[in-house]
Symmetry: C3
Subunit: 340 residues, 3 copies
């Protein structure tokens, strides 16, 4: 794929400063770009790399243009411009619209127009796959699951029975959708835990992306619900009955327990833990590896943890941490004494 | 599936207050139940939803009966009643007892009576699958692995060679059983890490449930052992040689390092970390995202972490945390001074 | 597999004290070894098990020899000796060099000499598999991916398009290599997140081991890079553009965000979180479940967290933690007062 700077300027409506006939064949970072590649300047912190970049052209904000001696394309948001221009140079294999002969598709499944079905796919009875979708090699889709249009499931995804996915949902390899929620009840009569069948479902909205190895459980009595536009990174765990509001972003390795409700436009993670049966308001930001153990009723940024220390310092401080309530008492005694 | 309240009352031995001929066709939560559904009241905190529920009937404790105006079924433990009644309305596809023609089963494997083998299953030589078990689509079972009866492996589970599973073990999609433990030894002569072959096995007891994406490693010199009745949630990691006592419950995303011994009837997680080579007593409860770095010799509840704070408060406090040992010294100096 | 102690002594160049004709048929721990097994004493802490071990022979350090009454083999490093001797008794199934007829290999893929291809493997066009490699059942290898020689992918691994693996790379079941990095840019014009296509690759060096369920993303603009000799445990997540230096060891459930650079010979984890866009020096050790939120410029050991406490103590201390900055002010006031 080769494009001239003029073509890129036209297609993405970005003013060009430089020779419109220059051809580029790919994109790369400021430091790594070759002379036939396009690059991007996202923040003034990286402006120091401008003088030495070999890139044919830099996409940048108007404010950074004076510092650029090569050709440049000016964008209001260079990162949004990146997101759009990168689609041209993306070599992720395009679905070919074919059904691989090794795929095992139940005759009672309904497969939409233009659907691609990869090798060794298993699609059970009652499944409906929306138009234009692509089901990767080795994917399993359980009985009665329904997807919208233009869904993409990458290789080796597992979808249990009765899951509903919206339009333009992307699911990466190894993700598991609709497995049983974790529900057991202790039976004191024999000292065992009795499984609670997870009879509700999992409903995923439109334009959701789900990362590799992520697991989202089906509900126990209520459906688990993922709102429109939610973006979920790799190895995230979402428990049964939980609801995630639209356009919330969840970074890698975050664990959300069951029956929790999360608002819209939240930024969560990575490595965050959120306990069960709480509510989190809209536009809440949780910093990495925080534990949320109570409801959050107001938007804003929240954190927990101690910050990192050299091991010896950490040990010294941690000893005092374990006697903090005693230390407070001692300060109170001193305060009372000094007032006497 | 439709049942009358009378049938449910009889089958589960729950006194009915209301019209025995009313039919229900499913279960749902108090808030979401339709008029042809059964619902449950688990705790007095939810009693506020009783007046507005549309459910045909509520399963509840005797103490909550006066507050209920609809039909009700009285249970000593409404949650245990739920666990049992839900089995009737569970639409998880039932194994059909057939071997899918696409399955690749080594002639030297022994497959029990009434076993279901799904599409694209791979079963290697020397495997024994117990009677009544169900092996989901795309599952891999390595050489010499042996399962008890009524085991269920959902789609795309991977079981390495020589793993032993008890009776009635359920394993959810994406789980990996018996992969190599993480063992390397530094060789100073060339500055590399030498792999330690993991020659021991993995033994899983009866009535164990293992969640989606969970990984349990085989042992290095001792078998990794999971006791009877253990329940393990999604994305849990259990290292080599570790032993988990019977009826212990491990919530999602908990990581247990190698050669650690965990007692019986513990409640762990989620997101908990447990280091290697320690022992945890019976009936220990570890709250979410705690790190256990030393042995625990007595039952009870244990925690670590700082609790969540608004970001600005957290930053202010964390600065002081990093000088805690200095603060203690200053308080000591004040105390000594005030005594002079 | 049976070997005499004399054969083991010769093969691994370890002085034998005892009867060279004794045969052993396996290895086990000091406590569990049977009388036909070999065992190992790694540290003086386990010397107490020497008198009661039933093992035929103990591999130990010279300093522990006097305490041993059975036959023994003396090693400078008993753990290195273990790593080497264990290869003899390892019953991990050996690749058979065959292509299973159910495998779906694109005619435009190049498969090296002596490669084993398991049942239901899918290998796409443009793939190159190096000599002597073994591809497990159900593995997916995407377009244009290239592996070195003697690579082993266990069952149900997923490798996306265009990934490059070095020689002697081992990848355990359920791992996902080269899925999209997590990149979205907010578009204020319509309140949605726009996907940033992840157009760079993933490059893995020689002698790397990757654990079960681990996910390593492809790059956005730069390749994600894993250095030679890196050992990665189960359920680790490594984000896009991140670089891990050679011979670094990463324990289970560690999450490393994007665009971070990690040095060589680091020891990380498990359960560690490392934020995006930072640098970590060589020979840094991060203890379990620490959060690294800033660059680390010097080698050494680093920690975060509070340590574990009984729940009641923890609650008392955590209350004070949340007022730490106030406590510091009070101590300052006392100090000023006492100086007056």
């Amino acid at each position: 794929m080769k494009l001239t700077l003029g073509q890129i300027s036209d297609q993405f409506d970005l003013p060009l400063y430089g020779d419109a006939s220059i051809e580029v064949s790919g994109i790369a970072s400021l430091q790594d770009a070759r002379s036939d590649q396009l690059t991007f300047l996202f923040s003034s912190g990286y402006r120091k790399y401008l003088p030495t970049t070999r890139a044919a052209c830099v996409v940048l904000a108007e404010a950074d243009r004076p510092a650029c001696s090569s050709a440049c394309l000016v964008a209001e948001s260079p990162r949004l411009a990146w997101a759009r221009i990168a689609t041209v140079f993306d070599d992720t294999p395009k679905p070919n619209g074919k059904h691989h002969p090794s795929a095992i598709v139940d005759p009672a499944a309904r497969i939409g127009a233009g659907v691609t079905i990869g090798a060794n796919v298993v699609i059970e009875a009652g499944v409906k796959i929306g138009d234009g979708s692509a089901i990767g090699a080795g994917v399993f889709v359980g009985e009665g699951t329904v997807t919208g249009n233009d869904v993409r499931l990458f290789a080796n995804v597992s979808v249990y029975h009765g899951v509903r996915l919206g339009n333009r949902v992307t699911v990466h390899s190894g993700a598991v959708l609709g497995a049983d929620g974790f529900g057991f009840e202790f039976d004191a009569s024999d000292g065992t835990f009795v499984k609670i069948p997870q009879t509700a479902g999992l409903v995923i909205g439109d334009d959701v992306e789900i990362g590799a190895g992520t697991t989202i459980d089906r509900g126990a009595l209520n459906d688990t619900q993922i709102g429109d536009g939610v973006k979920i990174d790799n190895q995230v765990q979402i428990g049964h009955n939980t609801r995630v509001g639209h356009h919330t972003v969840i970074s890698g390795c975050t664990a959300i327990a069951g029956s929790t409700t999360i608002g819209s436009y939240c930024l969560i993670g990575g490595g965050v833990g959120i306990v069960d049966n709480i509510m989190i308001a809209d536009q809440v930001e949780i910093t990495a590896m925080s534990l949320v153990s109570q409801s959050i009723t107001k938007g804003g940024r929240y954190s927990s943890g101690t910050g990192l220390m050299p091991g010896a310092d950490w040990k010294r401080n941690i000893v005092v941490f374990k006697q903090l309530s005693g230390l407070l008492r001692r300060v109170r005694r001193l305060e009372t004494g000094s007032r006497e």
